[in-house]
Structure formats: structure tokens, C-alpha cells
Symmetry: C2
Subunit: 196 residues, 2 copies
């Protein structure tokens, strides 16, 4: 899946331009953080015109998703979670999250992402900021309860732990239980975190 | 805290004997696994008499705890969790687990342990086996429900995730919420995993 828009007549830069923009974006997210990084600053750092950054990437969010090699678009996941009946939000979250991990390609990429977050303070800081802006804030705003951000954070604890135990540590019987059973067990707990 | 029993008149070996036994134990846990490692086999590998291994370490469990630098005795934690009213088990688990992480020394050592488990497949395998034998099996046996091991494994997912998000990734607001609030939120969820 490539996100580049190949508009006829626009000059797409050299063969590595897209990679160079991603390198510059990673540097900027690391140096200045997610909030203080702009498409324009990334362009300056990569030594290209800002229009070229916009040619390859729709938004700063997309630049972040690609730079961090996040295997899914967290904005799509967030939108899916927020649609449908409120009392089944826990189930939708469990299904969407485990769905990414259950695909062989998704699992490999999520493992790599988790390992780099957990072994590097710098990567952890970048992910923390990006995930907060792209997932935790929008979902919290939709929940309209006073402690919404804490609730969404607690959902994150359950999801992260399920992934670490099942896919990274491979602790039985969580590692080999069928995914439907796991969703059945996680759904009420996630719902409790959100609305209990 | 040293676990060596310095009985007068017994020869404790050279200055590094205890460390050499721990090295041999780590090798054996890595090569043969927790179940197939015996005190006698560790003695043979370290080139010392089996009595000397028993002089320094009460049991294979203790050898494992020390070899893996686990900052608490999981058997004591398991005993504490299993005492007291059944309907407050979730709260006792949350309190005991976060209690270890909230002490500065405990936090530093748990972080190191988590990082090594999450970055090394070999360490992950050793921990998986040891934790299964020392914590998951005894607690599962006390629960007397058919899916007890899955339930205890699910408790592990919530605890591991809370620790990773709060102490390793430091995602807000979970990272800085007071520990009493966190216990209040985790207790019912852990109880749900165990008995829901």
C-alpha cells in the first residue's frame, strides 16, 4: 500500500526523495516532538520544497504513521471504534486491535514497533505524543465524561498487555487461545474501563 | 537482601562461588528450561558439590528468582494474593503488583527485567516457564474453575499492560495518576477476569 499520489505533470523529486522526507520527519519528531513538527519544517530539514512534502503525504499525521512504520492508520481505527452502539465499544476495540495483530504481516510489524518503543526512550516519547494526538485525544473528546482520558489510557493498558503477553512473551494459555475467546474476555473489561 | 545462609563451620566456597552458581543456573534455565533444571545439574555445571548449591539457595525456585534478578519473591506475592476474601482478590493483586513498581528500587529492577524479557526471546522463554510454575499454576489450582489458567493469564495481561504504559512508555494520564486511583480502576477489572 503506497500513500503517494502520482499526479501527472508534478515533479515527484529524485528516487529517494520520499525516503529522505521520512528521515527528516523522524528526526524532527525526535528533536522537537509531534506538536512542534510542521510539514514546512520537515521540508526545510529535508532540503525540499514544502509542496513536495504535501505531494507525498496528506498530513502531518500521515507523515508520522509512515515515519514510525505503524502498520495501520490509527485514525481509521479510531473512527471505527467511535461508530456503532456505545455499549459495544469494548468489543469493537478488542476486535479492531487484535485484528491487526492476527494478520501475519500486521503481527510482524506490530512486534517490531512494540520492541522499538520498549527498547528506546526516544521512540517511546515519539509514539507517546503521536498516539496521544491521533487516538487518545479524539476518542476522549467523544466520550464526554470528566475522566475520559484516563479511561482511554486504561483501555490502552489492557490492549498493550494483551499484545505483549500473547504475541511477544507468548505466555500460555493466552498465547494460543482462539482469538474469538480472547475478544469475548477482553470486551467486557474494556467496556468497564470506558463506562464502568 | 542476601539469601545466603552463613552457617558457621560450613565452607562457603571461593568468593565468586555464589555468582558462578547463578551463572550456571542461568545457562541451565536457558538450555534445558525451568522444569528440566535441577539443583544437582546446576552444581555439576558450576563444577561444585550439590551441597554447596543448597548452602546458598533453598530451592530451585529461589535459584531462578536470583538468577533472573526478580526483585520480589513471586511465591510470597502468590501466597498474599490467595489469602483474604475472594471478592477482593482483584484489589489485592493490583495493590501487591503496583507496590513493587512504586518503590524506586523495585521500579528500576522491574524495568530492567521487563526490558530484557521484551528484547530477548531466550529471557522471555525462561521467564515464561518460571512464572508459569511459580505463579500461574499455584494460583490457578486455588481458583477451582475450569478455565482458571486462562483467567490468571488474563490478569497477567492487565498487569503487564499497566506496568508497560505507566512505567516504560509513560503515557499520560496513566503515568502520573496517583497509585490509589489506578488500584481503584484495576481492581474491578482484575476481579472480572478472575471471577466474571
Amino acid at each position: 500500500m503506497t500513500r503517494a499520489r502520482r499526479t501527472p505533470g508534478r515533479r515527484p523529486g529524485g528516487p529517494d526523495t520520499r525516503g529522505e522526507i521520512l528521515d527528516a520527519a523522524r528526526e524532527s519528531f525526535a528533536d522537537k516532538g509531534f506538536a512542534a513538527t510542521s510539514m514546512r519544517a520537515v521540508a526545510r530539514r529535508a532540503g525540499v520544497d514544502a509542496a513536495l512534502v504535501h505531494h507525498y503525504f496528506d498530513s502531518k499525521d500521515e507523515l508520522f504513521i509512515e515515519a514510525m512504520a505503524i502498520p495501520v492508520d490509527p485514525r481509521q481505527i479510531a473512527a471505527h471504534i467511535l461508530s456503532g452502539p456505545r455499549e459495544e465499544t469494548g468489543r469493537r476495540i478488542a476486535t479492531a486491535f487484535l485484528g491487526v495483530w492476527e494478520s501475519p504481516d500486521g503481527q510482524q510489524r506490530m512486534k517490531a514497533l512494540f520492541r522499538s518503543v520498549l527498547s528506546s526512550d526516544e521512540v517511546a516519547r515519539m509514539m507517546r505524543e503521536g498516539i496521544t494526538q491521533m487516538i487518545i485525544q479524539p476518542i476522549s473528546q467523544m466520550l464526554d465524561v470528566p475522566d475520559a482520558r484516563l479511561r482511554v489510557g486504561l483501555v490502552a493498558t489492557q490492549l498493550v498487555g494483551a499484545a505483549v503477553v500473547r504475541y511477544l512473551v507468548e505466555l500460555e494459555p493466552v498465547a494460543s487461545v482462539d482469538v474469538e475467546t480472547l475478544i469475548d474476555r477482553l470486551a467486557p473489561v474494556l467496556q468497564q474501563h470506558l463506562t464502568g
